[in-house]
């Protein structure tokens, strides 16, 4: 007889007698054969058991100035996967010379696909970016999201003499480092 444990936000509970069980998974968007471990022994002492499961999709983030497939690529922008609250998981990814950064092993499903959360943590130093948590779903095993990183806005920098109010400095350089 099977015992079904419903998982919500990573956690589920059940009352079980001490015994050894075969474990199967039913998780939309993931490869159910990758459930690990696939067997568990419930004993008198342990009240918490950890499992993992893997997905096979590939999500490409394409970052350009214009936010379009043919736009000017941004190199060196970084992203990381999160949950809905922004807590970070896994390793950061970075855009290459084509402006592409890839999340491997993400879930996908034709219907009711799991939500994938991520956020951008840096651009290339010359472009603005949105650091809020973003989300997407994938209905096929590969997908590309277009992301815009606009050029920094034009700013006016004024340099005047400290002892002669508003007297402009004719020639100079200012170096701004972020």
């Amino acid at each position: 007889m099977a015992k079904i444990v419903n998982i919500t936000n990573g956690t589920g509970t059940a009352q079980l007698i001490n015994d050894t069980y075969t474990v199967e998974a039913n998780v939309n968007g993931f490869d159910n054969t990758t459930i690990d471990p696939n067997s568990v022994t419930i004993d008198q002492v342990t009240n918490s058991y950890n499992f993992t499961i893997a997905a096979n999709g590939t999500l490409t983030l394409h970052v350009t100035e214009e936010g379009t497939a043919g736009g000017t690529p941004i190199v060196g922008a970084t992203f990381i996967r999160t949950d809905s609250t922004g807590t970070e998981y896994g390793n950061a990814i970075t855009t290459d010379s084509n402006g592409d950064a890839v999340f491997n092993n993400v879930p996908f499903a034709a219907t009711n696909a799991p939500v994938i959360y991520y956020k951008q943590t840096a651009s290339d130093g010359d472009h603005e970016f949105d650091s809020n948590v973003q989300n997407t779903t994938m209905t096929t095993n590969t997908s590309t999201v277009e992301i815009q990183n606009q050029v920094g806005a034009t700013r006016t920098i004024n340099l005047t003499d400290a002892n002669y109010s508003n007297l402009p400095i004719e020639t100079a350089e200012l170096t701004l480092t972020n």
Partner: protein, 113 residues
């Protein structure tokens, strides 16, 4: 006669519960009565004979026939503890490739072996 060991599981952490056991021969005659020690008991029985084990522990009963053959020295019997005795068990399911990333929704299906 052959010395054999009966091993009982499901007697709780560190076998804190014991099992009271009776063993009957094929004529249903009581030939042994005793209590386990550390979840085990040792006794001598005739080879190539059937015996009935009656074991009780914390309101759970094992009533089973077993056969003592020429070679086997240990016989394992399992008590299934009542689920009321167990606290609720927590199952954690996370992404294999993104360490500790919780799976938002799914099911684990457990089949007793």
């Amino acid at each position: 006669m052959k010395k054999i060991k009966l091993i009982f599981t499901g007697l709780g952490y560190n076998n804190r519960f014991q099992a009271y056991t009776k063993i009957y021969n094929s004529n249903n005659k009581l030939i042994y009565e005793g209590k386990t020690y550390n979840g085990e008991l040792e006794l001598c029985l005739k080879k190539n004979n059937c015996y009935r084990l009656e074991a009780i522990s914390k309101d759970e009963i094992i009533d089973i026939w077993f056969y003592v053959n020429k070679t086997r020295k240990c016989y394992l019997f399992k008590f299934r503890r009542s689920i009321i005795e167990n606290n609720p068990i927590t199952f954690l399911l996370t992404d294999y490739y993104y360490s500790n990333l919780p799976i938002e929704k799914g099911e684990l299906i457990l089949w007793q072996k």
